[in-house]
Amino acid sequence: MTNFILKYKGAEKPDLNKMTAILDAHKGHMIDGSLLPASALIEIDDAAFEPVRKELDGDWSIVPEFSYHVPDLKKKIKKS
């Protein structure tokens, strides 16, 4: 399972029922819906990424969640 961020792209009010139904159909779930209706953090199986993206039909962009690190200037020894 991998986390992805959904961001609504449309001009009209998003159909959240349709979006959650697509997630349910692919055994995905919403981790954080605090930014809805604009954005949401979801978790889906990697294999479900392409079908979910297609079924969302261009209404939502879907990008991976990733981490930013605290900038650190300490020099590091390379591990072999």
Binding site: K7, L35, E65, Y68, V70, L73, K74, I77
Partner: protein, 505 residues
């Protein structure tokens, strides 16, 4: 001889969407009309520049190469040297370098095979003490026996300030000593090591004139009276006796949202002190309202979704500026959309260029609606043999004592430079620490921007929309000085609040 200008292509877009609507921003709509190329033939256009003082030669030559209808994207050619002037003179645009995509074939040249460690044969005991000989615990010691290959040994001092390291030879290319707080670090090249080495660290004196205080005499700056609010998206802020935090939120999933204090790493507290400390040391914008948006769990990275939530919260809290002393190499569409939202809500996002040794500008600083900040330093504003002495690298400025830090990322996206070498600021538990980085330069610039806005209260009274952001950028453009490093390194230069900077360039 006149230096040849490097011309590059950029795409201009409205802040959001692909076509400008004159109701959203009439100025940008007019500007797009001006740049329209109806017959698809390249056209040269002279644009006026926002500078102070204004001179008749203050014009930028832009070649418009292509246009998607009158209200759509424009492809322009402009010199890299003039790009920062263009950005500050014509705010409210996304300026994206033209890119050429290639087939996604993995290049063999990219695969790097790392050489094996040499066998360790020599033990060195490091004793790290203060000037009285008391051991300092928790200090990181890094010994390079082959610096270019990254070979050597590292460890952290125990309660007595002692660490034993095994290395493969008795000559070190370089030794770096990193205390977390209260002392300056130490750096020395070409060291013949003995079995026992004692290094005494210099304590931080709070009246020391560091890189920040050389350019901005913070103790003499009056507290800000107008209400200016800065959101700091970081590890959390404080508590610290020199910091007053107006509010904030912890956006880390699973953590208490009211715990927006520092996670213990100290980065956010240091950033906040550079902006708004008031007490034993002063920041550049004492009196500003500080909002702490915590996105870093202790010892872990921050999710881009949590950063989106932080920007969203800063918009809801009506911040005027956002400080993001963070970055990664990957472009991030998720955060981009929220930087757009912030710009449309009348606030500017300042972001650190990144610290990858002159690599391209990190994201989100590289995004055209962010204000991207590089780090510079000044010789003589840190002790000899301090870590900072290893950061001096050309280019030097008009004043040869000024330099762009060796670690600072650079590139055409750079908007401004600011002091980021050997900066003294607040650290959790009422301590003080010296840190380096574009992370430190970013709040120095954001804090001075806050001070400039406080002196221009009319802009703060504008409705919170894109026009407010445009006007804020325009005001900043009137308060910037070039240091002579070149546009790739310093953008349009360094922000100034009063005349003291003019004699230091």
């Amino acid at each position: 001889m006149k230096k040849k200008k490097s011309l590059e292509n950029y795409i201009l877009l409205p802040v959001s969407k692909a076509f400008i609507n004159s109701k959203d921003n009439p100025e940008v709509a007019d500007f797009f009309n001006k740049l329209n190329v109806p017959d698809k033939r390249p056209a040269l256009i002279n644009l006026s520049v926002r500078n102070k003082p204004q001179t008749p030669t203050d014009e930028i030559l832009v070649e418009v190469l292509d246009s998607i209808q009158a209200k759509g994207a424009k492809l322009i050619k402009i010199s890299r040297e003039e790009l920062p002037n263009f950005r500050f003179s014509y705010p409210g645009l996304r300026i994206i370098p033209e890119k050429f995509y290639r087939p996604a074939i993995c290049s063999k040249e990219r695969i790097v095979v790392q050489t094996k460690y040499s066998r360790s044969s020599f033990q060195v005991t490091f004793s790290i003490t203060d000037l009285k000989g008391e051991g300092i615990p928790g200090v990181t010691v890094v010994v390079f026996t082959d610096f270019p290959a990254g070979h050597g040994s590292t460890g952290i001092t125990d309660n007595k300030g002692i660490v034993h390291l095994k290395v493969n030879k008795d000559k070190a290319d370089s030794i770096y000593i990193y205390p977390d707080h209260s002392f300056w670090g130490y750096f020395k090249k070409n060291v013949k090591m003995t079995a026992e080495i004692n290094i005494k660290l210099q304590p931080i004196a709070l009246n020391y004139k560091d890189g920040l205080r050389y350019f901005y005499n913070t103790s003499a700056l009056p507290p800000i009276k107008s209400k200016v609010k800065i959101g700091i998206i970081d590890t959390g802020v404080g508590p610290h006796k020199d910091l007053r935090i107006s509010g904030g939120k912890n956006l880390v999933r699973g953590e208490d949202e009211l715990d927006f204090y520092d996670n213990g790493e100290g980065h956010g507290t240091h950033v906040a002190g550079i902006i708004g400390a008031s007490g034993s040391i002063n920041g550049v914008a004492a009196g500003v309202e500080i909002m702490s948006y915590k996105v870093f769990p202790k010892g872990e990275g921050a999710s881009n979704f949590d950063i989106m939530k932080a920007i969203n919260q800063a918009i809801a809290d009506e911040c005027d500026l956002i400080n993001m002393s963070l970055g990664e190499t990957l472009d991030d569409e998720a955060i981009t959309s929220y930087i757009n939202e912030a710009y449309n809500a009348g606030m500017l996002c300042f972001a650190a260029n990144g610290n990858d040794n002159r690599s391209p500008v990190s994201f989100p600083a590289a995004y055209s609606l962010s204000i991207a900040i590089s780090a510079m330093g000044r010789k003589g504003t840190f002790p000899e043999n301090s870590i900072q002495s290893g950061t001096i690298l050309p280019p030097y400025g008009t004043d040869k004592n000024n330099f762009i830090a060796d670690f600072s990322n650079i590139g055409p996206e750079t908007d401004l430079t600011a002091p980021g070498v050997g900066i003294i600021s607040t650290y959790p538990d009422d301590k003080y620490a010296v840190m380096d980085g574009t992370s430190m330069a970013c709040p120095a610039a954001a804090g001075i921007a806050a001070r400039i806005f406080a002196a221009n209260p009319d802009v703060l009274k504008l409705p919170r929309n894109q026009t407010r952001s445009d006007e804020m950028v325009k005001i900043l453009s009137m308060n910037i000085k070039l240091f002579g490093f070149g546009a790739n390194f310093e953008g349009k230069g360094m922000l100034y609040y009063n005349d003291e900077l003019h004699s230091k360039i």
